[in-house]
Symmetry: C2
Subunit: 324 residues, 2 copies
């Protein structure tokens, strides 16, 4: 992960900003890789860091710890977090577990196992919150690169190639870089995980319906997904289109055809993320478009009169509660 600077720097800054959580504490680094997070924890004053790594990288983690004078602090444990034994509980669990659109090929299940096995009752997860966002997008740059450029190069009609590419994309989400101007509405929060409490059962399948009001006109070609992770100090690792690009980039679920959208149109979708059969780390995405007349969630942030009314009432109640 060292090569992905926004990612590594987010962890480094967050750990440094939370020295009080690490000072003289026991830290568990799950899926430590080359051990960079363990070194940050050691730099922040941890008394002991257990760096658990199942792959051959464990040897590198050990060398890195030794060359940085943390050979006594960082104990590299070669094995799966599901199998290893540790001599004590951890005050903090650090882990860089996130997959594409948060869940796909993530190590979250292992982090949960590690938490349930080794985190002290008042221990801290690092990061402690993860959020998945979605937003309708023109996918303009991707569309030009991968689909549209086939239309008439060399005086030839190669539209069949673009059509076939788009059909094949229905089977698999696309990892791509999104420009903020490609987004057609305000991003919607699809999922919020509190790492202290989340269970594997909650992650088996996640479905949510959303309606948004279009704020920028353009062809709606797919739903763009990204995530952010929040650390206990409130800082975040953000993989949004507006943030510096990470190796996760963003993920798009490409629609079969373009839908031209006008400002103030209300559009809805239902998105399901379901773990693939077989208990692996892969997810499948199902996206369906909703009619404006389909049932909206409560509350809903779209511009339909009923939703605005409900939201105003809820906001008023919240304000009164806060005052009370």
């Amino acid at each position: 992960m060292v090569g992905d600077k926004p990612r590594t720097e987010a962890y480094r800054a967050a750990i440094e900003a939370s020295r009080h959580l690490f000072q003289d504490k026991v830290v568990l680094d799950i899926g430590a890789g080359t051990g960079i997070l363990s070194l940050f924890a050691a730099q922040a004053g941890a008394r002991r860091v257990y760096a658990v790594e199942a792959s051959g990288f464990h040897e590198l983690a050990r060398q890195n710890a030794e060359r940085n004078g943390f050979g006594d602090v960082v104990r590299v444990v070669h094995g799966r977090i599901e199998d290893v034994t540790l001599p004590e509980q951890a005050d903090v669990i650090v882990s860089e577990w996130m997959g594409f659109y948060l869940l796909h090929e993530s190590m979250l299940d292992s982090v949960i196992v590690g938490r349930d096995r080794f985190l002290a009752p008042d221990g801290v997860m690092f990061p402690d919150v993860a959020r998945l966002y979605a937003c309708p997008s023109t996918l303009a740059a991707f569309h030009c690169d991968q689909l549209q450029c086939w239309s008439r190069p060399y005086g030839l009609d190669l539209t069949a190639v673009g059509e076939a590419a788009r059909r094949s994309m229905q089977q698999a989400p696309q990892v791509l870089d999104t420009h903020p101007e490609e987004l057609l509405a305000a991003p919607e929060l699809m999922l919020e995980l509190h790492l202290q409490y989340v269970t594997p059962e909650e992650l088996a399948a996640v479905t949510c319906r959303r309606f948004v009001t279009v704020t920028r006109p353009g062809p709606y070609r797919g739903l763009c997904l990204w995530f952010e992770c929040q650390f206990p100090d409130g800082s975040r690792l953000d993989t949004a289109p507006r943030a510096p690009s990470t190796h996760w980039r963003q993920t798009a679920v490409v629609l079969p055809t373009d839908y031209p959208l006008e400002v103030d149109t209300v559009i809805g979708w239902e998105l399901t993320l379901a773990r693939e059969a077989g208990g692996g780390r892969k997810y499948r995405i199902a996206l369906s478009m909703l009619d404006e007349d389909d049932e909206h969630p409560v509350p809903c942030g779209c511009a339909v009169g009923k939703c605005r009314l409900i939201k105003a009432l809820i906001d008023k109640e919240d304000a009164e509660c806060d005052e009370g």
Copy 2:
């Protein structure tokens, strides 16, 4: 291949420049993919194009031919060139068969089979010559990205990561973009294939020794390989560092450590490209450094006195032959 513009454009320009070879002729496109080369051949006036494609792309090739009004000219044949039957011999064989460093994962064996089965006695191969070049390189950009940047980020000593990466690269050549300024000498021709005559036996293993005189000082970190293909009109598809980047980029064989080189130093190497056991399309590269005292090839372009003398004599004889 449509998305790789230098590649597609080289074929398009060469076919257009050789209309006389295509006009009213029978053309065989081996490994046609989506059929772009077949369309170029049809545009150049071919009477009939057989587009042989083993994969599911054959359907796209058919659609592309129909949508461009060449449904009657281009006959898409679904199958392996080793298995298909064609009703007539071909005047021209076009194919985009080249792999990384020319031979690795190439389709050259299939092209040779197609040539031996279907090319008319006075038929033309398109391209007709392929050349592999090698040159010692600093691999500067790659080194900075993949190796050196690990040295001291975040105030940490992560040199172990760079060392491990370099060790792992000994097992596998690296595909990368080389800047012309990274080259430490004039490129050396390692291999020249004449497609009209080359046999699979010649391609089983290729070994060559070369000595070069260093023309630019710098750390020698690996041998950079690339190829060019030449068409009958003399035009070329060039994948050299100085040429526009293609999907092949260049390939580097990374040395275990850096060798600082001064201008006018003579360095030598022996490079072997050997087909992997099992008869597949993969090659293995073996590179060994030679001492200046090891036997030089004849002629040799390096600055050692004996080599310069021999080369001068050969050049003189050639000049006299030309005059005679």
